[in-house]
Subunit: 206 residues, 2 copies
DNA sequence: CGTACTTTTGAATCGCATCAAATCTGGTGG
DNA sequence: CCACCAGATTTGATGCGATTCAAAAGTACG
């Protein structure tokens, strides 16, 4: 059936997009090493990562690769709404799946449907909030400090489900997985943290 | 004159806001230690920092203060557009000036004026892009690496003007000013960086 | 059962934070 | 003009914590 793709749309997209745009979405798998788009090309569609990992990168002045974004779930290059050309490459670093949405459809709908525009703004607000918190987190020096901050800001009620295990969380915190394992162990020993099957719980004055 | 406040509006706001909203803006000074808003209160206006420094913070689980955002220039708590209550305090950490814009006016204008909504979205896109780059920067381990990344992403043509001197740049990079001074000195000695009066220039293969 | 991955612990090294102090700078008032 | 101060800038010495390299133990899956 043609609508099988729609049914697979992740929750966030179903709540965000007008139905006529949902109908134009196309899911497709992406393999590690694949380039989803290239610097200089004209954006034709908005990409949403549902699983796997994609990084946006470009070459710095002395040839070093500068990573601008690493996404495991969410839009990549939302800013392509405004720009004529991509200013970086999109490289798949972990096989997964993406949803492609025609850019023109989004632009038209944003101009015509103020409700959609409002939801889009709300989504961007959330993203800005999240990113600001992440910056504050990354500017902390200690791993334990960062971990607790993560649970405070991304979790609810001092609880945070860990999806891909601690290892993937480590790169989100900007530390090695060894350092994170040790930090968790120490916090548990102090009694500041408890660890259920797939959950981290802050013990403090809750 | 009453319009003296309008004339003082910073460039970004003049380009972003419809004229009828610019007329409703009110600049006012804020002193170090002042609370611009408090967790739990209902947002009535959108605040834009023109100079000074404001942090958004709230109390974490074990009483530790969690800083969510630190702003020297730009909106604070854009997300108050969507939320009924503030979820954090806004504390002035360096005396300066803010512009207050009535929230209802913004909401109405965003719904009625699709051009304004488009500009607002573009602004948020820029912010998201900048924040993502900053996250990647902060997740780098070396100071030199971070500095070069900053110049690559925030500067143009490998050149970056340093506004408040190296010291203020240090906290933006999430390092101590001593470490930054040393990194700059080493990069200059290698010949990878040059330093003009108020400018940092990457020397590499440009 | 074997392979691949995550999780865990150990030991050595390195870079940054920290504390300290000297120099340089611009601005203010005598 | 000089004295003086507050801040930025610079250099030095020390310690801690994360990285790094290494290896073992646990776990999922075909």
């Amino acid at each position: 059936m043609a609508d099988s793709a729609e049914k697979r749309l992740p929750e966030p997209l179903r709540k965000l997009l007008p139905l006529e745009i949902q109908a134009q979405c196309a899911s497709s798998p992406c393999a590690r090493g694949e380039l989803l788009f290239r610097q200089g090309k004209k954006p034709a569609q908005m990409l949403y990562v549902t699983c796997g990992e994609v990084v946006l990168q470009r070459l710095g002045r002395q040839g070093a690769i500068v990573v601008l974004q690493r996404t495991r779930r969410g839009f990549i290059g939302e800013a392509s709404l405004d720009s004529v050309r991509y200013h970086c490459d999109a490289l798949v670093t972990m096989s997964g799946e993406t949803v492609a949405i025609p850019l023109v459809a989004i632009k038209q709908a944003l101009a015509a449907d103020s409700g959609f525009a409002g939801r889009w703004i709300a989504m961007l607000n959330q993203e800005v909030k999240r990113l600001r918190a992440q910056c504050e987190r990354l500017s902390m020096k200690g791993v334990k400090e960062r971990l607790l901050h993560l649970i405070e800001t991304e979790g609810s009620e001092g609880r945070l489900p860990l999806g891909g295990g601690l290892k993937s969380m480590a790169s989100e915190l900007g530390v090695t997985h060894e350092a994170l394992y040790r930090a968790v162990a120490e916090l548990e020993k102090i009694g500041a943290l408890r660890r259920r099957e797939n959950l981290l719980v802050v013990v403090g004055g809750g």
